[in-house]
Every structure is written in structure tokens, then in C-alpha cells.
Symmetry: C2
Subunit: 320 residues, 2 copies
């Protein structure tokens, strides 16, 4: 865990417990690559998903099994990172040599599969069948979306509706699910469960749009992803879609049906920045942020509400 949680005193020790459960799971069953997976878990990032789940569980009373479910959701995330590294043939992740680079494709595919099974075991032990199904369903729709997205690379499909549908099936659904599972497992009132799900959905939409804007804007020192990464991979995100609508004549000739040269990447970045598309995209993020706040305001006035508000402010602060 990094310093992101320093100012959230309630959450920090709870996330540390979730982290310990994750390590226990990885160390169990004499799994042959335990050490390697453990380093990955240790180097893991913000633990946003488990944080959402824990906060949501404070809207209910039942606490048993909540930490284990939070661990399950984060292990699912680690499993997808391991498979992503196989797909991208990545050598390092967060400064750690990837499993794929250390042990090869076979071990990395199997280690990801193993972690998925551990996640589903935890889910079937510590959640209702309905929530276990929800977790499986969500991972399924993320895989499906990823395949869709990969099949559309370098096609530059310029539809805002299509883009919003895609991100709603990934980040937004994931944030919504984390809040939903936490609230419903702790037996929160059903109106609260629904409201929290909508908060998560809207925060996720705003978060993803902001992330996609940053890919056009940030100087490389600011974030881990280099600028223009999406462009280089042939992904058509909101800023480019909006720029294409206002300035297709200049942009279209630069977008080919395969990886583009660095000069073209730089030209596209400049054109998108200069036509006001980033500001336009930001209005979408702001709209989702506003909806998230509106939903948040409807929640009962308990400590968790303020904790959630604080977390959303921090997450979306960039575009607030």
C-alpha cells in the first residue's frame, strides 16, 4: 500500500488487515510460485476496490467475512494484472519483474488462473451466492469488454455512446460492484445498497474519463503511464472522439490502421489538446462527478458517508 491512505485513519489499519489476508491466501496450499505472487501483492497499489467495499460495509451491521471479501476482490485484480502482463509481454510492473518475465508464459497463465480460483473460493465462503455470482459476472464482462476493445484497435470508432458503454462495463461496473457487495453483505438497507451502487458507477465513470484525459495531458513525470499510451495502442478514448467530431479533416489522415510513428503521435496529441477536446471531455467527467455527489448526499449521515465523500474527493480531485 502506498501513502494514499495516510489521512484516512479509520481505513488504513483495516486495509492492512485485508492485505494480510491476501498474503495468507497466497502463502497457503504450498503454491509453488508463492514468493513471486507475494512480491506482486506487496508491491500492489492503492487497494481502491477493497477500500470501497470496506466503507460500504459500514452502512450495515454484519462484519463477518467482509475483510475476506475485500481480499477476494483485490486478488481478482492481481490475477488480471498477471494475465495482462502475459498479454502485453511486460517485463516489469511497479518496479517488480513480472511473473511472465521471471517464469515464462506457462507459469504466469497458471498463476493467474490459480489466483482467480482463490478469489472465487473466498467469494463462495464469505458471500451470498448472489454476490459470488455478481463477482464472477463482473469479471466476465470485463474480459468480454477487453476483447471487444482489442478487436476495435486502430479502427478509431468515433462514437461517444460506444465509448461510454465500454467504460461503464469496466471501471464503473467494478467500483459499483465493490460498493454493492460491501453494502449488501453487511446487510445494509436495500435503498442504501442501490444508492451506493450508483455512487460507485458514477465515480467510476468520472475516474476513467479523467484517466483518459490525463493520457493526453500529463507530463510524463506526473503519472506512471507515459503520455499517448492509448493512442500508441490504437485505443480511441473520449478526447480523441470529441476532437474527431470537431476536426476530422486534420486528424483522420494521421490515424492509420496500425501502430503510428512518434511524429504522428505528437501531432495527434497537439491537435486534440488545441481544439478544446480535453475541456469538452472534462465536462463529461464533471457531470458524472456531480451525479455521484448527488447520490452520495442521499446516504444516511453516518461516518462512512464522510469517509466515502473524502475518498471520492481525493480520487476525482483532479477533475472536481
Amino acid at each position: 500500500m502506498d501513502d494514499f491512505w495516510l489521512d484516512q485513519e479509520q481505513l488504513k489499519p483495516r486495509l492492512a488487515r485485508v492485505h494480510d489476508i491476501m498474503l495468507d491466501v497466497v502463502r497457503s496450499n504450498a503454491f509453488p510460485l508463492a514468493d513471486a505472487v507475494e512480491s506482486l501483492v506487496q508491491a500492489n497499489g492503492k487497494m481502491l476496490r477493497p477500500a470501497f467495499l470496506l466503507i460500504a460495509s459500514d452502512f450495515g451491521k454484519k462484519k463477518q467475512g467482509i475483510d475476506e471479501l475485500a481480499a477476494a476482490i483485490e486478488l481478482l485484480h492481481v490475477a488480471t494484472l498477471i494475465h495482462d502482463d502475459v498479454i502485453d509481454q511486460a517485463d516489469t510492473r511497479r518496479g517488480i519483474t513480472t511473473l511472465h518475465a521471471r517464469f515464462g508464459v506457462k507459469e504466469a497463465v497458471l498463476a493467474g488462473d490459480w489466483l482467480l480460483t482463490r478469489c472465487f473460493r473466498l467469494a463462495s465462503e464469505h458471500s451470498s451466492p448472489a454476490n459470488a455470482r455478481l463477482i464472477a459476472q463482473l469479471l466476465g464482462s470485463i474480459c468480454s469488454e477487453e476483447i471487444h476493445q482489442d478487436m476495435e484497435t486502430y479502427l478509431w470508432p468515433a462514437s461517444v455512446r460506444n465509448y461510454l458503454r465500454k467504460i461503464s462495463g469496466k471501471t464503473a461496473a467494478l467500483f459499483g460492484m465493490a460498493l454493492r457487495v460491501g453494502a449488501s453483505e453487511s446487510k445494509a438497507m436495500s435503498a442504501v445498497v442501490s444508492t451506493l451502487t450508483r455512487v460507485g458507477y458514477n465515480v467510476g465513470m468520472a475516474f476513467q474519463i479523467t484517466d483518459d484525459i490525463l493520457d493526453f495531458r500529463a507530463s510524463e513525470g506526473d503519472m506512471r503511464k507515459p503520455v499517448g499510451k492509448d493512442l500508441r495502442e490504437g485505443l480511441c478514448t473520449l478526447p480523441l472522439i470529441l476532437a474527431l467530431a470537431s476536426n476530422a479533416a486534420a486528424l483522420k489522415p494521421l490515424l492509420g490502421d496500425g501502430p503510428m510513428g512518434e511524429a504522428n503521435v505528437a501531432n495527434v496529441l497537439t491537435l486534440v489538446r488545441d481544439c478544446g477536446a480535453l475541456e469538452h471531455a472534462k465536462t463529461f467527467a464533471s457531470a458524472y462527478t456531480k451525479r455521484a455527489i448527488l447520490e452520495l448526499d442521499r446516504l444516511p449521515d453516518v461516518r462512512a458517508k464522510h469517509e466515502l465523500r473524502h475518498l471520492c474527493d481525493k480520487l476525482l480531485g483532479r477533475s472536481w
Copy 2:
């Protein structure tokens, strides 16, 4: 499905229903690679695991959801085949171009993951949490065993105990699980559930040992795997372990720490065949077969018992 089930009139139409459920699942949710996964399901083999599950369910009364669980177990198998093809970089499987060869690593990894999630969704919808956990746990231990096995290739670790532990965590546990889940979900008596689990375990052990013997013996026309496949992949199975115990001096120099030449493969095959190791290995298979029959005889005298006996005879007939 192939002709394997022609003489089992009760089972054949039920397996056809399971097959239809599998196709429905694959066609659902606008999954982008539905066609490709469907051809894989269509070309799928014997459907042994769902057959065991269905037969076991006849020892109980509850029938609801049994076909769906049988489909889940077979989809899990298809998912692991897709990932195996990524690992082996295989171009075809059962005469069908693999997903990996048609669409690349990314789509194949994600399609396998997607099928795993569909399997866990079905399990959480149609089985008790305990059985959902059992299914996840079993797949986990198979992944773990595969990694162990891969890390030991070309080390020729000659321990019978180690070999038996390995196959008990794969084929035997899988067969046992299929029978256990079918019986317990249909609310069979707990003594019957335990007995069926032991039948599955022993049949699985005998089946895997027989398969490993065939890799040293069959002429290439007899079966789909070419002879000596395990040897070429650096896997040390029971016949070689037994041969090493009786004739290490001649065999050891032929076994290197990497892929061996075809002349060495042929020499090892001949040495293993000539020292009586295949017959010795067969005594192990026979012992497990006998234990399976002993357990089978304890089952209540219903039609399913005779169906199961008939299936075991067919499966193990080669070594009976």
C-alpha cells in the same frame, strides 16, 4: 460428443442437454468470440466429467440445476484447454484451429478467463456454496500441480510417492469431485456421497496410470497423442520411474536436462518396455481399479450403479 456414449441410452440424451446448456452459455452476453468458442465446444470430446456428475446425481432425488452444474464442470475443462493451447502455442486441437492461433495470445487468455467466470457463475447459481468452493478449490489445485510439474521437467524425479501425489491432485481429484458434486447436490445420503467420491478417486488414479502406460506402448494410430510425448516434454511418469529403479545404469545417461533427440527417445522407450516396467505399472492401475470396484459394490443397487460400473469398465477396459 463422439460415439463413446452410443451404448448408454440413458446418458446420451442427458449429455446432449448439457451440451446445449454449454452452447447457450457461450452464445450469451454478446461475447465477442462466441463463434470460435462454440466450435471448440462442438468439437469437444467425451464429456466424461459431466457424465460422472449426472450418474452420481441419480443416487439422490433433487434434479434441479444438475444439468447446469454438469455444463459448468465441462466449461471449466474447455477453459483450461484454451489456456493450455496458449501455453503450448498449439495451432490445432481436435482438428480445429485453436483460439490462440486464430486470434492471438490476448484473446485466448481473455476467452479462457471469461469461460472460467461463466463456470463460477453457473456454480454459484446452481450449487451450494460448499460445492462452488469445491469446484474452485479443485481447479486451483490443478493449476498448482501443473506448475509443480512444469518446474520438475527434465529433472526426472524418480519417486513413486511423488508421482502418485501428483496424479491424485489432477485426474483423480477431478473425477472424485464430479461424482461428489453430482451426488451431494442431488441430496444423496452422505455415505453414498463419500463412497462415490472414493470411486471417482480410484477410477481417476487407474485411468491416469493407464494413460501414462499407453504413452510408452501404443502405436501412433491407436490414440490421438503420439507415443513418447511425455518423455519429449521431460515428464517422468510411473513406467519410467519404475524402470529407473530397476535399470538406472542404462537409462540415466539417456536422460538429459533438456529436450532429447529422437534416437534417445526411441532408446528410452525400448529400455522401459523391455525391463517389465509397463507390466509393473499395470499392477498399480489394477490395484486402483480393484479398489474402485470394491467401493462401487458398496453402493445401493439402483440403475445408476450399473451405469457407473459400465462406464468404468469402458474407461478402464484397457487395463482391467
